[in-house]
């Protein structure tokens, strides 16, 4: 079931909420049990077989967690073996369903093995669920979770607002909330919840989907070997960056909003990443809970292991500003690139995703290296922050846009073709109609090498205008979390100490003006559901 569907908005969510509140008024336990049942229905709606695929994995993880809890303190070595077994089980589970066909394809490509490709039904949200289960086992092993019941564990894994596309939550940030949730109608929670939900719906259906329809053919053409001109290649790159930005931002808002209707606050997952001034900053704003997971469970353990090994070998084991290149490579570049390789693979089983992850790993290494080098060549941090900020923003933005081409392209060759187009290898072309209406400027453009093309001027102008509007919204306006900061829309979000004039003026409050404005936003979002469009992140 999609959040942006009539069936979810009109047939699923209202009765689930109504029953939840009615039961909650009598018994909190009954309300939470109802929430688990509703989550199962939500998960099974698309394909009931999903439940049969995911249920054994949930049961096995619960069993491993119980065992870990029992032996944790008495036999640490055995517990460690059990933990590793549990993690391997989860990775194999994910690997089989998500990567078996890609692995066979890769073997065929490299060794011409001629393996038949295994057709596997991919359980929904398997990547998210698997990471959450791994985090749970690690937390139980580390003693961060001491008490849990099967119902609590089931609620943690299955809670439907976040089951399919995150955020990736920790047990310790969810269960305390469920334990104190009133499970009754709370006008403030519902007001904040519906506001978040319909902001998200509008982002998805009004901002993200239309630009997706514009850029789709450009990627298809590039993948089929048709060269793209400078303008078309940039429309494709910028358009997709903005499509996935508003798509994922919209999804995150909707997930936050739905959870809030049940009195639960999810962690922040998306915080205006295109405003980032470095790639490190970008990853602290984009899919924040994934970055958190990768950092805690892959990057840090790997770095610690490498530091211990270097220390054991008598090599420098700390990353300081005076570190040698070998130390930088060994302790920072290697774990960073490997972690981002995992990130790429997690996003999709394909060469383009692997390269996308590696490219971001490389960008992060360059960013880290610059952080180490910069104080030597530009010691005044204050002036650096003031003067270099615009350049840092542009460089980050262009890097992200450039990399996003890989994320969307069906093939690496298609991405390469678009990259060539972006740097002008295939020349520049504009619709003949636009050039002829530009008068002398059109003539100048032709003299500069811009070729007149028999393409639609209306579509060209429409795409450029849409990209301009979306960029303005993404870069210049406050985000949803900032708008609702007074009402803590997500875990850890607090009002800015000194909000700007615009934010003070537009900050969300339960007023009549906001109620009518939100009704307009909600209506626009609902009316835009005429065609169903899947969230991009649901495929991961």
């Amino acid at each position: 079931m999609l959040f942006n569907s009539y069936i979810f908005i009109f047939a699923f969510l209202p009765p689930v909420l109504a029953v939840f509140y009615v039961l909650g008024a009598r018994s909190r336990e009954a309300a939470l049990s109802w929430l688990i049942a509703a989550s199962l229905l939500f998960y099974a709606w698309w394909r009931p077989l999903n439940i049969l695929l995911i249920a054994p994995s949930i049961l096995i993880n619960y069993g491993i967690a119980c065992y870990l809890k029992r032996i944790g303190h008495s036999n640490p070595a055995h517990a460690r073996v059990v933990l590793i077994g549990g993690v391997v089980f989860n990775l194999c589970f994910l690997g089989y369903f998500k990567y078996i066909a890609f692995g066979e394809q890769a073997l065929n490509d490299i060794f011409d093995a001629g393996l038949p490709l295994t057709q596997v039904i991919l359980p929904l949200g398997i990547s998210f669920i698997t990471f959450q289960k791994i985090a749970f086992l690690v937390d139980v092993h580390a003693g961060r979770i001491e008490r849990f019941t099967f119902r609590e564990y089931a609620l943690f894994v299955l809670f439907f607002p976040q089951i399919i596309a995150g955020p990736i939550v920790h047990y310790r940030e969810m269960m305390p909330q469920f334990k104190v949730a009133s499970c009754r109608f709370d006008a403030e929670d519902v007001s904040v919840g519906i506001s978040l939900f319909f902001f998200g719906l509008a982002k998805k259906s009004i901002l993200a989907d239309p630009i997706g329809r514009v850029i789709g053919p450009l990627y298809d053409h590039a993948a089929s070997g048709v060269p793209q001109s400078l303008a078309d290649a940039w429309i494709a790159a910028l358009g997709f960056t903005l499509q996935i930005y508003f798509d994922f931002s919209g999804y995150c808002d909707m997930a936050l909003g739905i959870a809030r209707l049940f009195g639960i606050k999810l962690p922040v997952n998306f915080n205006s990443p295109l405003k980032a001034r470095s790639v490190i900053d970008f990853w602290a704003r984009w899919h924040i809970t994934l970055t958190r997971f990768l950092t805690a469970y892959i990057y840090m353990p790997m770095t610690l292991y490498l530091m211990r090994r270097r220390a054991a070998n008598g090599q420098p084991a700390r990353r300081t500003r005076d570190a040698k290149v070998a130390t930088f490579l060994g302790l920072l570049a290697v774990p960073t690139i490997l972690t981002m390789l995992v990130s790429g693979l997690w996003h999709g089983a394909g060469y383009t995703f692997i390269l996308w992850g590696l490219l971001h790993g490389l960008l992060l290494c360059v960013n880290h290296a610059w952080r180490l080098i910069r104080p030597r060549i530009w010691p005044d941090t204050a002036s650096y922050n003031r003067l270099a900020a615009p350049a840092a923003f542009m460089l980050t933005f262009l890097s992200v846009v450039f990399a996003m081409v890989l994320f969307r392209s069906p093939t690496v060759a298609g991405a390469a073709m678009l990259w060539k187009g972006m740097i002008g290898v295939y020349g520049a072309a504009m619709p003949r109609a636009i050039l002829s209406h530009l008068g002398p400027i059109g003539g100048l453009l032709v003299q500069l090498g811009v070729q007149p093309a028999w393409t639609s001027g209306t579509m060209f102008v429409g795409a450029a205008a849409r990209i301009g509007v979306l960029l303005f919204i993404a870069l210049a306006l406050p985000n949803t979390l900032e708008l609702l900061a007074l009402y803590q829309p997500a875990l850890g979000v607090k009002p800015a100490g000194a909000p700007g004039r615009l934010l003070r003026f537009v900050a969300w409050k339960p007023t009549g003006t906001w109620a009518v404005s939100l009704a307009c936003v909600a209506l626009a979002g609902i009316l835009s559901l005429g065609e169903l469009h899947e969230f991009l992140y649901w495929r991961f």
Partner: protein, 418 residues
């Protein structure tokens, strides 16, 4: 501050009220002609948005119109044939234009004819055929497309079980979507514009887009743009046809149309649609003209087997209508008389064809193809092309200023049906 409970009350009330207004507005404007809401001057007299929803609009229109004659074809017919022109014989009226712009295959004509006949009262059908469609095998889609789901019957003639649901969905999407609301607002906004695009209740489209384009860019650009597209199309079709053996693709669709019409005693006229010489020359140069001749021959044989119950008209030739000169590049004033561009003829030419086919007097344009005339017709067209293209010293074509390289009229015998 009123508090969250008041916020929720105002929000719910506003949402319901605004939703009701949006639905009522869409229903009143009816931008896609789904409901047949009476048109209101200044609000919904013209329906420019139907341009992108012709199948949806016309399928609903035809059910309300109950035509005696239906004209079927692709975008040239949608634009170039006026269903309400007085040149139609009175006995054939009312006439409905069921021409559908966009991707079009000959089998679609059968589906449209079935749909029109299902409304009751259709006595005659005029089906225009695009010769290019016969050079590319159709790619049958096992799943019913949206338009197919809307039709009352399945391709085999049985009732379509999906029709009611699709039509209910059409109605819902026509009143309760943002796209419909935007289109309703656009419809109202464009009413005062001169030369606004429209779809008449008899299915006839207007030429407003071409009039605007001719005014802004000139006729030469219109021809040149279409020439470029047709050149690409011809280049794609040529290799498909190079190794083709047997009857041409799509001929079975025509046979099905004939069989359907005869089974229901519907007078059927098949028409090979006219094209400007630019388009004809492109297909000559792509080596496809033998296939055009093969098409005419095979269609003639098919029609001859009906013993006079079906008529086949051919307007694909080098008559004075088809070879009209195109104004020079940059000339935005000089109009053409008969063609907007190589594949789309003007309503004036549409009227000439209607008069020629169904009237008592008309200029000599096109002819009825029969087993006795088709060979002569093909030979005459070759001679006309030699006279026009090969022996002219000055280029006469818009975008085809290079001389022909095919020794002009050397014709290879096409592969005959085995």
């Amino acid at each position: 501050m009123r508090g969250p409970r008041a916020f929720l009350r105002i929000w719910a009330g506003s949402l319901a009220g605004l939703g009701f207004l949006a639905v009522a507005f869409n229903l009143a404007v009816d931008p896609y002609e789904v409901f047949g809401t009476p048109r209101m001057a200044g609000i919904s007299l013209f329906k420019p948005i139907t341009k992108n929803h012709a199948m949806l609009a016309k399928t609903n229109q035809v059910a309300r119109f109950h035509p005696a004659t239906v004209v079927i074809g692709s975008s040239p017919i949608h634009i170039g044939i006026d269903a309400s022109t007085p040149v139609w014989p009175e006995a054939m009226g009312p006439v409905f234009n069921y021409g559908i712009p966009g991707v079009y295959e000959t089998s679609t004509s059968l589906r449209i004819l079935q749909e029109a006949v299902a409304t009751g009262g259709v006595k005659s059908a005029v089906v225009f055929l695009d010769f290019q469609n016969f050079f590319s095998p159709e790619d049958p889609d096992p799943a019913l497309l949206e338009a197919d789901r809307r039709f009352r019957s399945l391709p085999d003639g049985n009732p379509n079980p999906d029709s009611r649901m699709q039509r209910a969905n059409d109605m819902f999407l026509s009143v309760a979507t943002a796209g419909a609301l935007i289109d309703s607002v656009t419809t109202v906004a464009l009413q005062r514009r001169p030369n606004v695009l429209d779809l008449a209740s008899d299915g006839s489209g207007t030429e407003a887009d071409f009039i605007d384009a001719a005014r802004n860019d000139g006729m030469h650009d219109l021809f040149a743009q279409k020439d470029a597209a047709e050149a690409v199309r011809a280049a794609k079709l040529a290799p498909v046809m190079a190794g083709w053996r047997g009857p041409l693709p799509d001929l079975d669709a025509v046979a099905a149309i004939v069989a359907f019409a005869r089974a229901r005693d519907i007078g059927l006229t098949l028409v090979i649609a006219p094209h400007h010489v630019d388009a004809l020359e492109l297909y000559w140069r792509a080596g496809l003209w033998p296939r055009v001749e093969q098409l005419k021959t095979e269609l003639t044989a098919l029609v001859a087997a009906q013993h006079g119950a079906v008529t086949l008209w051919d307007f694909l030739d080098y008559s004075s209508f088809n070879i009209e000169p195109v104004p020079a590049a940059g000339d935005r004033r000089t109009p053409t008389s008969w063609f907007w561009e190589p594949t789309h003829f003007k309503k004036q030419l549409g009227d000439v064809m209607i008069q020629r086919m169904f009237g008592r007097s008309a200029p000599a344009f096109g002819m009825i193809l029969t087993a006795d005339t088709v060979a002569v017709r093909n030979a005459e067209i070759r001679a006309a092309r030699r006279s026009l293209v090969c022996e002219r010293k000055q280029p006469v074509l818009t975008a085809l200023e290079s001389p022909p390289t095919d020794r002009c009229v050397r014709i290879e015998t096409p592969n005959r049906p085995t």
